[in-house]
Assembly symmetry: C7
Homo-oligomer: 75 residues x 7
C-alpha cells in the first residue's frame, strides 16, 4: 500500500482548486481547506456550473458520503 487515499488529500490542501464529483451528478470545484476520515470536506471559493453559468457558493462543508471522487488536478 504505497499512497493512502486520504494522505493524498494533504498534498492539495490550500492549493489549486479540486473538482469534487458528487452522487446525483453534481460537480463542485473549490480549494480544499480540510477533510476528515469520512471524506467530509471543507471547500473554499466553491463554485458549481449550473445551466451553463458558474454559481459561486463561498465556503462549503460537504458530507463525505456524497462524494464519488476528488480530482486534485486536471492533466
Amino acid at each position: 500500500m504505497t499512497k493512502r487515499p486520504l494522505d493524498i488529500l494533504d498534498q492539495v490542501l490550500n492549493r489549486q482548486p479540486v473538482i469534487v464529483s458528487l452522487k446525483g451528478g453534481r460537480e463542485i470545484r473549490g480549494v480544499l481547506q480540510g477533510y476528515d476520515v469520512h471524506m467530509n470536506l471543507v471547500l473554499d471559493k466553491a463554485e458549481e456550473e449550473m445551466e451553463g453559468e458558474i454559481v459561486k457558493m463561498g465556503t462549503l462543508i460537504v458530507r463525505g458520503d456524497n462524494v464519488i471522487y476528488i480530482s486534485p488536478k486536471l492533466e
Copy 2:
C-alpha cells in the same frame, strides 16, 4: 489536515443563516444552533423556498445523513 470540517461549523453557530442542501433536492436556510459528529443539525428560524414562496419552519432538528453540504455564507 488544517481545518477539520466539523470545527468549521463552530464558527458559524448562532450567526448569519447557513444554507443546508439536502439529498432529494431540498434546500433549507436557518441559523445553526448546534450539531454533532453525525452532522445532525439544529437550525433556528429555518425556512425553505417552495414553489416560489418562503415557508417558515421554526426550529428544525435535521438528521445528518440527509445533508449534502452546509454553506456558511454566500460570497
Copy 3:
C-alpha cells in the same frame, strides 16, 4: 457546540405535537414521547394527511433512519 441536536428533543417531550418529515415525502405529526440516539422516535396521537384527509394512527415507533427532520414547532 452549543445545543446538541438530540438534547433539543428533550425539550419537546410530551408537549405540543411535532412534525416529522420522512424520506419518501411522508410527513407525520404527533406528540414526541421518546427517542434514542438513532433518532428512533415514539410518537403519540400520530396523524398524517393523505389525499386531503387526516388519518389518525395512534402511537408509532418510527425507525430513525427514515427521518429527514423533526420540527418541534411552527412559527
Copy 4:
C-alpha cells in the same frame, strides 16, 4: 428521555396485531413475538393486503432496516 422506542415494543409483545410499514410501500400486520436492537421483528399471524385481498403469511422474520414505523394500535 421518557419512553425509549424499543421499550415500547415490550408492551405490545404477544397482544393485538401491530401494523408494520415497510420501505417500498408494503404494510404488514401481525402479532409481535420478538424484536432486537436493529428492529428486526418476529411477526406471527402476519398478513398483508395485496390488490384488495388479505394474504396470510404465517410467521415472518422482518429485517429491521426495512421498517419505517411500527404502529401498536389504531385509535
Copy 5:
C-alpha cells in the same frame, strides 16, 4: 423480549423450505442451512419463480442486507 428474531431461524434450519423476500421484488424459496448475525443466509435447493417458471438455483449464499423478510412457513 420473548423471541429473538435470529433465534427463530434456528428452529427452521434444515427443515421445510422458507420463503425469502428480497429488496427489488425477488422472492426465493429454499431450505435454510445456515445464517449469521447479518442475516447472511445459506439456502439449499433454492428456487425462484420467474415469468411463471420455477428456476432451480442449487445452493445460494444470500447477503443479509438484501433481505426484507424470511417466512418460515405458510399458514
Copy 6:
C-alpha cells in the same frame, strides 16, 4: 447455526465457477479465489453475458456490498 454463510465459500474456492448476482441486475460468473468478512470477492476468469455475448473480464475484485447472492453451483 449449522453452516455459517461465509464458511460455505471456503468449499468453493478455486473450483468450478460460481455465479454472483449483483444489485442492479448484473450477473457475473467466475472462479472464487478469495473473500473476506464483507463478502468482498476475488473472481478469476470472470465473465458476464451482455446482450447475448460473453464478455471476458479476467480477475475482478468485487466490493461486497454489491452482492445479492453467490451461487456455488447449478443443480
Copy 7:
C-alpha cells in the same frame, strides 16, 4: 481463504491501468497508486470514456463505497 481481496490490490499497484466500475454506470481506467480498507482508491492517469471520447482526469481519489468492482487486467 486463500487470496484476500484487498491483498490482490497490492499486486497491481503502480502497474498497468485497472478498470474501476462504479455504481451509476461509470467506468474509470487508471493506474492504482493506493487504497485503504474501505476500498478508497488513488488512481493516477485516470480516464473515462464519455460519449465516445476519452476524458483525461489526472489523479483521482475515489470514495470506496462507489466501487462495484476493480478489474486489474483484461484477458
